[in-house]
């Protein structure tokens, strides 16, 4: 495993974060907002793991790995909750985004 590979993924985290953050605000539909938030989260995980691997080379640091595994499960439960809210709003009002005319 070369050091360069981790640099690539660490650098990938930057545009991913930007895309996700802008997406959270710019996308209208709830579903897309949720997807944007998930991409945002994925970029943070990516950075954690990539930096852990960069600083250690052989034998990755188990602490960030454990954190990311926990994070993935937490992120998915948050996404499930957000989806439920979005679906309820859609069923009650017919709105699929904020500030939409029903």
């Amino acid at each position: 495993m070369t050091a360069e590979a981790h640099e690539i993924y660490a650098l990938l985290a930057a545009p991913l974060f930007a895309v996700g953050l802008v997406g959270v605000f710019a996308c209208r539909h709830f579903l897309k907002k949720i997807i944007a938030a998930k991409i945002l989260g994925a970029s943070a995980f990516l950075l954690l793991i990539a930096l852990a691997a960069r600083d250690h080379g052989e034998g990755p640091d188990p602490v960030p790995h454990a954190m990311v595994i926990t994070g993935i499960v937490v992120a998915v439960s948050a996404a499930a909750f957000a989806l439920t809210l979005a679906r309820r709003i859609w069923q009650e009002t017919g709105q699929s985004g904020f500030g939409e005319k029903p």
């Binding site: 495993m1 859609w90 069923q91 009650e92 009002t93 017919g94 029903p102």
Partner: protein, 93 residues
């Protein structure tokens, strides 16, 4: 040999990238889902190649999970579409 496996993996990735055109063009959802399926199969192949290239046997378990759950997405889609039509309730109360 390691280099060969990685090279082959990169080729399969390029394959995936090309297949994305079908997701973008559609026309139907079924067409698009087909590509998600392709991602599954090719992903398994890439994982197995990586397991060999990086000498990380644990990646084979990842591939196993990939392939076990490959059917879920499409099954969820056809089950969702198969259920009878229900309109969203009480628009604007």
């Amino acid at each position: 040999m390691q280099v060969f496996y990685l090279l082959l993996g990169a080729f399969l990735l390029a394959n995936l990238a090309a297949a994305l055109l079908r997701v973008i063009r559609g026309p139907g959802t079924a067409d698009r889902l087909m590509t998600a399926q392709l991602f599954g199969t090719t992903g398994v192949a890439v994982l197995l190649l990586l397991a060999e290239a990086m000498e990380a046997a644990a990646l084979r378990d990842t591939a196993l999970v990939f392939v076990l759950l490959a059917v879920l997405i499409v099954a969820a889609f056809t089950r969702t579409e198969g259920t009878e039509e229900r309109r969203p309730a009480g628009k604007g109360s």
